[in-house]
């Protein structure tokens, strides 16, 4: 990467201790994120993909310190957020925001959207007076494609796509540098997805935003990301510049994921050899030994069961964790 990254995540680990079910045995530990590293340069987007439960959301929330890491570091503009106290973190909160999949769940149903968008402005004392806040809210609404005329309406009066616009306005109110987008368009119709994706791209250009874009639709991720990281059971198994990973996936898991993408070109859909992965993702409580993907890997060898493959830079900027890559 050419310049100093805005965000640098090193060996991030987040384990969850489950309630003890059997007094004779140690409590189960969910190894949701188990040693993840990546950088994101200012103004760029890293797409984070992988099957349900592989640790994408946990990664995003741990970076933002919405939950504290078990170990590892998160350098944001040169400061390690993991080392800061809750009080010290407050100064950094403005710089980092999150946008969720389900915009409805993240909005208070009894608060008008005008108030909802103004809330962060008042909390962080960005707007000194009510009038000032109101003006800024109207500006933001217009910016995300909402008619400011609706400022006094409640969330239930809006469609899913409009609610996502409200969520975006709220996140951008504090003028952040870095935004985690956790499946921001997954619950929306394709037509509305396209509107929101275009909006997110425009906002990134205008405000020089840096995105961590979490999604499972690999068509959407390809469209929006500069780099892509593929996660499997708490680990990154491949990371590369966006188009490169689609042209030349090197990890067998990435190859399987990509072969399952439902492209809309029927000629492509018929030509594509699908690699059908058998079984389901293994448990994050007792991940398989060696390479965590070995029980489902179509080309696994003997040593894959014992030796866990390290991430290696196989081509400049293209990292893969597989013995056979």
């Amino acid at each position: 990467m050419d310049d100093q990254p805005l965000l640098s995540v090193q060996d991030l680990v987040k384990h969850f201790r489950m309630p003890r079910r059997n007094l004779l045995r140690p409590p189960d530990v969910v190894r949701a994120v188990d040693g993840v590293s990546f950088d994101i340069s200012r103004g760029k987007t890293l797409g984070l993909v992988g099957e349900s439960g592989c640790g994408k959301t946990t990664t995003g929330r741990t970076i933002l310190q919405l939950m504290r890491a078990t170990s590892g570091s998160v350098q944001f503009g040169g400061t390690d957020l993991c080392q800061l106290s809750d009080k010290e973190l407050r100064n950094f909160r403005n710089g980092m925001q999150i946008i969720f999949q389900d915009p409805y769940a993240s909005l208070d149903p009894r608060m008008t959207i005008g108030k909802a968008i103004a809330e962060p402005l008042m909390i962080h004392e960005i707007s000194k007076t009510r009038d000032e806040a109101r003006e800024r809210v109207q500006e933001l609404m217009e910016r995300v494609g909402l008619n400011p005329y609706f400022i006094n309406r409640y969330p239930h009066e809006f469609s899913g796509g409009q609610r996502q616009r409200i969520g975006i306005a709220r996140a951008l109110a504090v003028d952040p540098d870095f935004v985690v987008l956790d499946e921001p368009v997954s619950s929306l119709d394709v037509s509305i997805q396209a509107q929101i994706l275009n909006l997110l791209q425009d906002l990134q250009d205008e405000m020089e935003l840096t995105y961590l874009f979490i999604a499972h639709d690999l068509r959407v991720v390809r469209h929006i990301s500069d780099r892509i990281a593929v996660m499997y059971l708490g680990l990154i198994v491949e990371q590369a510049p966006g188009l490169e990973i689609y042209d030349e996936p090197l990890h067998p898991y990435t190859q399987a994921l990509l072969s399952a993408v439902p492209w809309t070109d029927p000629r492509l859909a018929r030509k594509h050899q699908r690699i059908i992965l058998e079984g389901e993702v293994s448990s994050a409580v007792n991940p398989p030994s060696g390479c965590r993907f070995h029980p489902r890997c179509p080309i696994a060898e003997e040593r894959c069961q014992h030796e866990s493959p390290a991430l290696r830079e196989i081509q400049p900027g293209h990292w893969v964790a597989c013995h056979l890559a």
């Binding site: 119709d189 994706l197 399952a260 699908r274 690699i275 992965l277």
Partner: protein
């Protein structure tokens, strides 16, 4: 261990053109409505649709355009205040809308089966999954309890449930999303239906599991020569799994034809918009997506003329006054006053 290779057929089930036969399912001018405080919701508004023996027809459109209500009208399972107020749904020589409740009970789960988007809503949480599959077969196929049990075990194995004997007495909450959908498929196929209605069967699943489930449905359908109506909002699924496609907007059909023809030469601006909204392998990062502006119309007060005009970049005065009807273009039909000339191929 996984395996390389693909169970996807090289050739589609049919070549996608309409065969010269009597359709297995024929929907004529169906109107399904809901009476609400706001007024009459026209969920399905004059839809006509033919489904031919052995084909997989994709029914696509944005959420709220009436796809589910079309399927539930066929099954006669509309929620409380909904009613098919006009039209015909002909299946095996009967108009389903005129069938008695008793006749419909025989048809449902027997000749016509349905797979729902959220399997939890369609499965009984308090009954073991084994019982749920075998009970249907006892009723529809008149099998003995023991015969039904044997068949259910075979089915569970066939749809890819590992160690079916152990899983037979499990309850649905003990299964993952993908496994639940497999159980739904086992139930749907248990009575060898002639027609399968699959309502977004993979929308809630991961792409890898989605691919497994779609291949499974296709394989089972091919084995038994079954006909399927595949409801989805994803043009990618249509591209990979269907022979023909019908595009719905505001409760009506706006375009239909063979998958290749419609997806490669979409004629209706709405179909073009739906296709353009999905990033393709050709798009470059940073490109803007072609998006359809605005929202689908309020089904209580539809605009006059073409229902798509408030969102259509080509709309003119005629569009705002006169509603276009389906016209034949090549192998497909579209309802638009300004159908684009065919792309050179």
């Amino acid at each position: 261990m996984g395996t390389y290779g693909s169970s996807q057929p090289e050739i589609p089930l049919t070549d996608g053109t309409e065969p010269d036969q009597i359709p297995l399912l024929q929907i004529r001018e169906l109107h399904t409505q809901f009476e609400t405080k706001q007024g009459t919701v026209r969920a399905v508004d004059g839809l006509s649709l033919d489904l031919y023996e052995g084909e997989v027809l994709g029914l696509v459109g944005e959420s709220g355009c009436g796809k589910t209500m079309t399927a539930l009208s066929i099954m006669r399972l509309l929620p409380g205040n909904g009613q098919a107020v006009a039209g015909e749904i002909n299946f095996e020589g009967k108009n389903l809308l005129q069938c008695s409740a008793e006749e419909m009970k025989q048809i449902r789960g027997g000749r016509i089966a349905m797979i729902f988007q959220e399997p939890m809503t369609a499965l009984t949480p308090t009954m073991t999954i084994g019982r749920q599959i075998s009970e249907a077969m006892e009723i529809h196929l008149r099998l003995s309890r023991q015969e039904a049990r044997e068949r259910a075990l075979e089915l569970l194995e066939h749809v890819g449930i590992p160690s079916p004997r152990e899983r037979f007495d499990n309850y649905i909450h003990q299964f993952s999303g993908g496994m639940r959908q497999r159980v739904m498929i086992a139930i749907a196929f248990s009575c060898q239906p002639r027609l399968l209605l699959a309502d977004e069967p993979t929308t809630a699943l991961d792409v890898t599991v989605q691919a497994q489930i779609l291949d499974l449905i296709k394989e089972l359908a091919q084995e038994s020569g079954m006909t399927a109506l595949f409801i989805t909002h994803d043009m990618g699924i249509v591209a990979g799994s269907c022979d023909r496609v019908a595009v719905m907007y505001a409760g009506r059909m706006v375009e239909n034809g063979p998958v290749d023809d419609v997806l490669l030469n979409p004629r209706h601006p709405y179909t073009q918009g739906l296709l353009g909204s999905v990033p393709s392998l050709e798009s470059e990062p940073g490109d803007r997506l072609y998006s359809i502006s605005g929202l689908p119309p309020d089904l209580v007060s539809l605009p006059p003329g073409c229902k798509f005009w408030p969102r259509c970049p080509l709309a003119d005065d005629r569009c705002r006054e006169e509603e276009p009807v389906l016209e034949q273009y090549g192998e497909s039909r579209a309802a638009c006053w300004k159908v684009m000339p065919l792309r050179e191929s």
